[in-house]
Symmetry: C2
Subunit: 558 residues, 2 copies
């Protein structure tokens, strides 16, 4: 079955048009259902069976330059996955990837976008299988792995394709240029404009959200005419290996070189990201992970466009509220979801030491912290619900940070060990809240560093004005992915907004219902701002795609 241009247009052009409209209006839209039942009655069992069938096998991709096999994934829920992936010789693989570039460029922006949409729709059809793959690599609970690793990730990929298409088609493919010369005949030129990718893009995946954080860069680069080498985190290979397999199948069926998308998995301790990142063939890099390696890439991979999402110190300013219970519930959920292992989870809650005004009367700093601790405790009091919300700790580093949290200050909410009846080896812990005095220099060094995982700091500040200034300093010096604020004061609201505008941070105000500061919706919300140290790019805007390709003009006398 050949994926002809006509077939691709019939299947996917309407979706592309809807995506283009969605990024213009930024209203709610998604073609990827969130509910597991929407995928058909047999999908859950088939998805699980497909995942189980992969375990203990060799995951062959038929890639050029495969010089061995490697894989060490162990599920945060306990089981070893036992899957071996191809290990690549870049001196063979990279030239093979380049070989497909000319035809991919000639396909043009629309055909490339439609091929990307076919890849995404095949991934979507296998969302249950991907959910298990994401769950057993990231430690997310099943429902979150399903939604964030499935439809939400696919949305972010599609969003990147829409932006890429929109940017590439702003320049016409040809133009007739006629410049009047008074009484003499006009100067006339025939011009053609071709969008050309930069070469090979390297997408370096992360442990916690392999698909959600990986798809924007992968699809933005592919849709703009580049080949993409996918280098997953060694603990989270499977979701991206499945992605690469689907992409290679679709590319081949559509008549393109499957090697336009390839996988590079490292042997233990090999550190291939560092060697690949400075290869001259690599012209684009997308990276999500530590600040240290993100900074290294920005400094050293000078031959490439580098898009990084690094660490931040997410902050919530608590000034006042007209829905005290709503605020507590909302914050409790934000701190608990995926054990606080999201790059968007609030870390610092800035609370005036004299307390705050609420619809339930004045609440002292201790009241607020105690009530929040109780709210988290209540939310996670039932072990089944706790397991469904928390998932498992993704790696031992998170656990050791959690274990060390009690030594950082007064513990307002201790962590609690939870047993997962299905996976007794899973490390499941409720979040800890530590009280810190914002005015003390020794506390500052604690709360102004990222403490990734289920640890939050209730920072007592002298006043709301002090909180706003600390927010500014945090954004400017440490970076943030998210800022939250609770206030009933228009002046405070304005002050927090001004700081976010001046220092470039995305702000959620007075969230008390079912939307949380740590969640962003594709096509509408920006993830990160690209304007503070936490990330040099936002998902997804024009700047994220516009420099992944160049426009080459050829002009001829008419």
């Amino acid at each position: 079955m050949q994926l002809t241009e006509t077939r691709l247009i019939e299947r996917h052009r309407p979706t592309l048009d809807q995506a283009l409209e969605a990024i213009r209006s930024r209203a709610y839209w998604s073609p990827h259902p969130e509910h597991p039942k929407a995928y058909g009655e047999s999908a859950p069992a088939e998805g699980l069976a497909a995942f189980e069938a992969l375990r203990g096998t060799r995951f062959d991709l038929d890639q050029p330059g495969t010089d061995g096999w490697t894989g060490q994934e162990v599920s945060p829920y306990g089981p070893e996955l036992g899957i071996e992936y191809p290990h690549a010789d870049p001196d063979v693989l990279l030239p093979a990837m380049r070989a497909g570039l000319a035809a991919w460029r000639e396909a043009g922006p629309e055909r490339r976008a439609l091929v990307c949409l076919e890849i995404l729709s095949r991934i979507s059809a296998r969302t249950h299988e991907f959910a298990h793959a994401v769950m057993h690599t990231s430690g997310q609970a099943f429902m979150m792995a399903f939604q964030a690793g499935g439809p939400h990730a696919q949305d972010r990929g599609l969003e990147a394709v829409a932006y890429a298409f929109a940017e590439q088609t702003r320049v016409p493919s040809t133009a007739d240029w006629s410049k009047p010369q008074g009484k003499r005949p006009p100067l006339e030129l025939r011009k053609s404009f071709t969008t050309a990718g930069r070469g090979i893009a390297l997408m370096i995946g992360c442990n916690t959200f392999p698909t959600w954080n990986g798809y924007p860069g992968l699809f933005a680069s592919l849709a703009t005419g580049n080949a993409v080498l996918v280098k997953p985190h060694p603990r989270a290979v499977l979701p991206l290996a499945l992605t690469v397999r689907v992409a290679r199948e679709v590319l081949a069926e559509a008549g393109f070189a499957p090697d336009l998308v390839a996988l590079a998995v490292e042997r233990p301790g090999e550190g291939i990201a560092k060697t690949l990142a400075v290869r001259p063939e690599i012209r684009i890099i997308d990276y999500t992970g530590s600040t240290a390696f993100g900074d290294w890439l920005e400094t050293n991979a000078r031959q490439a466009q580098v898009y990084t999402e690094k660490a931040g110190v997410n902050t919530v300013v608590v000034d006042s509220t007209d829905d005290y219970q709503g605020m507590l519930s909302n914050l409790a959920f934000s701190l608990s979801l995926y054990s606080g292992q999201m790059c968007t989870t609030p870390q610092n809650l800035l609370i005036p030491r004299d307390g705050i005004a609420t619809d339930a009367g004045h609440k002292s700093y201790d009241d607020v912290v105690g009530d929040l601790a109780a709210s988290v405790g209540g939310l996670l009091g039932d072990d089944a619900r706790a397991n469904a919300l928390l998932g498992a700790l993704v790696n031992p580093e998170v656990k050791s940070r959690l274990d060390g949290a009690a030594g950082l200050g007064e513990v307002a909410l201790p962590t609690r060990k939870i047993t997962n009846p299905d996976f007794p080896d899973a490390v499941v812990r409720t979040p800890v809240i530590v009280k810190l005095d914002g005015a003390k220099p020794e506390a500052e060094s604690v709360y102004l560093s990222e403490c990734f995982g289920p640890v939050s700091f209730a920072v007592a500040v002298d006043s709301t004005a002090a909180a706003v200034e600390l927010l500014r300093r945090t954004i400017r010096d440490q970076g943030v992915m998210t800022v939250g604020a609770y206030t009933t004061s228009p002046e405070t609201e304005r002050a927090v907004e001004d700081v976010c505008l001046e220092e470039s941070a995305q702000l959620s105000l007075n969230l008390t219902g079912g939307v949380y500061v740590n969640q962003t919706a594709a096509f509408s919300d920006f993830h990160g701002s690209g304007g503070n140290p936490a990330a040099n790019a936002a998902l997804c805007d024009a700047a994220f795609v516009a420099n992944r390709f160049r426009v080459v003009e050829v002009r001829r006398q008419a």
Copy 2:
């Protein structure tokens, strides 16, 4: 007279709309007339008088932090300008510039664009004055200084404003987001999106095209909500000082802080570009000049977005032609215009050593080089015409490269000294053409380095295929701003096109009439590709503007 929003819309919105349409169609368009007579009968005399009135004066801009006066401009035509400019203390000036940012951000993309258009239209009205300022700093002949320094530079500025407006308005200012929740009420958010500049932009001007190369960055940054500090080349201050003065006047009249645009002129040997470029307040840098300093900026100014245009080795492949005389005339003009001191002037002419097929029969390598030399000689045989085309050598470094050219190989066309009757001290020289054997390693080190100025190399190559491969190597390793090719063979045409697509270079094919490889038209042609070592950005595309601002989202429960 207050520049109200209504007045700005009436005056400039139609022009902005036309510019937006022009960058979409890329057909010919310009609102800035090229002919000096179009500016009114009294304009030439008034422009000259205005320029003369500036000489020997102190150019006060009423800028904060002025701690002295400096200026050493000497016209390449001889006279000292004798103008003193404010010297700035950045510790005072930069905070003052930042103070205007909030109101400038709040003005929004349309108002900012219209203010920029008012600045450009006032500059346009003074084009004759600017022409003299450009002529007596760059050494361009008057007509070229008038056109390239006036309407063409204004076009490039307007083009940048149009791109900036288009990019900023792709995101709506507000959105209502409603996500269905089955039988439960939908999740509803009210979102606002604000385009926010990054801070202060530094525009580092060049000696040869202070306005043409300076306006794109200046106006792109200003239109996207940034303040702009203009650091002119010490030999070419006046055109940008006039620009800054106009911008400050317009900003004040429109109710904004004039300090949003300011001038920084250095004392002899002070090197302020280096210190300014790494100040934390500087978030964007635009630079045109040497590869060495461009590379230094890219490596060291890590706190800023850096847009550079550096050196390249522009190349023309000469394979065959059906208009031999047209080809020779076209190339002769390209080599002569402004004494080859354009970043787009061809340097290397790659000619098969066995000669080429033409409509005038087979021409040997020696024929082609000799005929081209004769064509240049003919074009510049009349001293008046030569002066009008060549202008003056911009600085002693160009002259010493020209003087050294004879030692590089066999001279096919020697340089000739020309007297300018109006300016006897002007250094006016015709271009030199040197023959080199492309196969000789010692020649390669000569022709694969940039030799800026009126020196071209006729490089004998083994075949057209060898020329195409040398072209590829030149683009990849040295970078090019322009590529030209002459061929009647569809295969050769395709091969050259493929190299330009793969290595990212702008190509002009078979130009034999009144369009030259070294000229690009705003709104239609891209200047540079941003994809090879000669420049990391193209003038002007979406990537040139999209990262000068960030979109800050504020979301609230609805």
